[in-house]
């Protein structure tokens, strides 16, 4: 019988330390620079240009015409970073976060700019509009 040519390699490796990362006992393997992790959205910077809606291949964005912002569900995101590249105001960026497991696909952490925030902004805009109109009337008098 012929001996396997792997035997010397196996014997040599038996004497070595295991080369594994014992997650979760250890820190995970560090991410490189420009790693594409969970998407971060800054509502205040967004000007509602809809570029991200056009470019996203995964249907993450919904445009909200009343407030001229977008709402995101990153549960669908494929981490391609195209929205980050196209956003003219840097309202979108990719973070280092990659431990994103969840029991609920509509988990808070997957949704940016939630219902309540949208309602709040709507009210705020309405008030601003009224204030402007009032100011105009006062001017005309």
């Amino acid at each position: 019988m012929r001996l396997s040519p792997l035997i010397p390699t196996v014997l040599r490796n038996l004497a070595k330390k295991p080369a594994t990362n014992l997650f979760p006992k250890m820190e995970p393997v560090p991410v490189p620079e420009n790693f594409r992790g969970r998407l971060i959205y800054d509502v205040d910077k967004c000007v509602g240009c809809r570029m991200c809606v056009t470019v996203c291949p995964a249907g993450v964005f919904v445009y909200l015409p009343e407030v001229r912002k977008v709402t995101l569900w990153t549960g669908r995101c494929v981490f391609c970073s195209q929205c980050v590249d196209v956003c003219p105001t840097n309202a979108l960026k990719m973070s280092d976060e990659f431990l994103l497991a969840s029991y609920d696909k509509y988990d808070e952490k997957f949704i940016w700019f939630k219902e309540e925030e949208i309602e709040e902004l709507k009210k705020k805009l309405e008030e601003q509009k009224k204030a402007k109109e009032a100011a105009k009337k006062a001017e005309n008098k």
Binding site: V62, T71, W73, R76, Y106, E115
Partner: protein, 188 residues
Amino acid sequence: MSETHANEGTEVKKPTKAEKVANAIAERFPNAQVEVKTNKWMRERVWVRVQKEDYRELMKFIKALDGEAHYSIGIEQDWGEELGFLNHLVIYYDDAPAVSLLIDVHAPKDDPTLPDISDIFPIALQFEREGMEMIGIDFEGAPDKRRLFLPEDFPEGIYPLRIDDKGVPEEMVHNAGHPYYLKGGAKK
């Protein structure tokens, strides 16, 4: 062309391999439209638009030109009034560049039949089966007309890649939905 333009070493001999193939096809099939197109990387391709009647003869002719001819792919297309089937072949590939050959054949939608060529290039059959289920071209004489990719319970008479009313209807299109819409976002 003047001598100053010729770049030694990269000089292209005229006629090129592609042009020779184009001329041979044009001579044998006077009804076919033959064109040599050059892309921005100076890669030549021979485009042939052939009549349905000449299609089988042309495929036999190519096989005779080069017995090693390689059939790469068959692409079904919906041109509106007509259905098309585009065959991409590579011939004379023992020295680079090979001749890249595109054979386009059309059939009207009210008589969407094309001859099968899988006896000449056996691998063509799998692309023809795809063409039959996806766009509804009937390849006459194909030895195997079973579906290839579509599931058994997919309705008859619907061809997913058609752009007309035989394409997939609105009711068959599903979307898992965005939570903003699922919560009645835009409707409120």
